[in-house]
Amino acid sequence: MGVQRNLYAFILSLLANRSDAEDVLQETNLILCQKSKEYDPEGNFRSWAFNIARYQVLAHLTKKRRSKIHFSNELVETLASEEFDSQKHRITQRALQICYDLLPEHMKEIARLRFKEDQSMKQICKALNRPIGAISGTLFRIRQNLIQCVREKIPKLEADTEF
């Protein structure tokens, strides 16, 4: 469970596009299977997997460079070298379960369409009959709201897990 989730977040941090990140995760998984013989059981599986994912991201960027907005390779490398804290990921997950429920109803509706149903911005605009600026403004407030709430909950949850 854990490694997949972290790998996905790691890839997403470099691509910032969910469907691209999913594609790269799939490709990475295939390579992990194909190369499982090369993996040294004494080694660190996570960093091995992350490294393969990093190469897949770079390969993906080279392929797609022409058509989309992407970070430069330099920035990708900088972001890839940031420490990826899986403990923090777990705690955030628990905090988020609490915070998501606290969202005001009108935000929940848009959050549901965007995050759970994975609808595109266009689809959401159409479904709610609102302009794209309003939707992206609300999504920004939703994210900000959740980040704020998660930041507040984390110290308490961290303290709880220590006992």
């Binding site: 997949q4 989730r5 996905y8 920035l75 988020l96 911005m121 999504l139 994210r143």
Partner: protein
């Protein structure tokens, strides 16, 4: 504060795919030059990835109430024709409006739910694991990728015994090892279907609908048995594997029961990427529309002497106009039992 507000706004529009080229270069430089900004960026990414994967699991999924009462009121052929025509015409419009299979599937699922509730669109959003491909790619190709991938994952796990098996657990029996993905597919009673026994049953994923060929299908690799040790001790005895299963279909807007299948495949694998199929057997049955009754199916296969692994997969499929409505129903299995037997009445199982 002002500064992070701008940063956060840019990150949010980046994640929504609505960022302009200028804003994107602005964001890039904000990230490139400041570790604090990168920390905030990663915080947003963490949130985004969790929202994408986790909230779906943390909240109960709302199921639409099916409306089976409609059926007897209108004579069958008229109703079926009208629905088929309605869906085909809907589909025609959508087909012109999109070239993307993913959103197409989402639309189809939406149309099917008259109240627009979320159950169908939940499909495949949770974990971008191999099963997810069913919705993202052409489904013929997705099936083979799905199966090959799980088999590889399973064999790698069985080999090392300790490889992190993200999906699937390793179980040990007398002279047998098994990679088992069923625990992650278990569901309690839902949509009018009670488990055939115990308190949980196997819920198959949504079917991948191919509108061109009017077929809908889901196939899941659920278990891989490592029979190497058991086969070594045979001294020429004939080994057989026997599998039994019960299947059921929930209420929905479909006219016919789905065809369920169980497939056993004997393979050997020289390296983790090469698998040779040695033998294969498949058994199918059509379920009825009554969610109270479970249909049974079973199959048996003689294992070739050089068999190393047995792959067990379950499938459900629909054909014709009914296939377009396939995901208004859910498909379940229960009581999967496997026996490995040898000539001299030696039996391993049920497992």
């Amino acid at each position: 504060m002002q500064k992070t507000e701008e940063l956060e706004r840019l990150i949010s529009s980046l994640l929504d795919g609505s960022i302009s080229v200028d804003d994107h270069s602005r964001l890039s430089s904000l990230l490139q030059n400041s570790p604090e900004n990168r920390e905030i960026y990663l915080e947003y990414i963490r949130l985004e990835s969790l929202l994408h994967w986790e909230t779906a699991q943390s909240e109960p999924i709302e199921f639409a109430t099916p409306k089976p009462k409609l059926l007897p009121v209108i004579p069958f052929p008229v109703w079926a024709g009208a629905v088929a025509a309605m869906f085909l015409s809907f589909f025609g419009i959508i087909w012109l409006g999109t070239d993307q299979k993913t959103s197409l599937t989402a639309y189809i699922d939406h149309i099917i739910q008259p109240d627009g509730s979320s159950y169908a669109s939940e499909v495949g959003r949770k974990a971008p694991m191999p099963t997810d491909t069913i919705l993202h790619k052409n489904f013929g190709e997705a099936m083979s990728l799905d199966r090959r991938n799980y088999v590889n994952v399973a064999i790698a796990s069985l080999h090392s015994g300790n490889q992190p098996a993200d999906e699937g657990v390793i179980e040990y029996f007398d002279h047998l090892k098994r990679w088992n993905r069923l625990p992650s597919l278990l569901k309690p009673a839902e949509k009018g279907v009670l488990p055939a026994s115990g308190s949980s049953m196997i819920g198959l994923e949504k079917m991948a609908v191919n509108v061109d060929s009017q077929t809908a299908e889901v196939e899941e690799t659920v278990q891989v048995l490592d029979v190497r040790m058991a086969m070594e001790n045979t001294s020429g005895e004939k080994a057989r594997i026997f599998a039994a299963l019960k299947v059921n279909q929930s209420f929905g807007n479909t006219q016919e029961g789905a065809e369920f299948g169980i497939t056993l495949k004997a393979i050997r694998s020289d390296s983790s990427t090469v698998e040779h199929e040695l033998s294969k057997t498949e058994s199918k049955t059509s379920a009825d529309l009554d969610p109270n009754t479970w249909s049974e199916l079973s199959t048996e296969m003689v294992l070739p002497l050089d068999t190393q692994y047995v792959v067990v997969s379950l499938s459900a499929s629909k054909q014709g106009p009914d296939s377009i409505l396939a995901n208004t129903s859910s498909y379940y299995a229960d009581d999967l039992e496997l026996y490995l037997s040898f000539d001299k009445d030696r039996v391993i199982g049920p497992i």
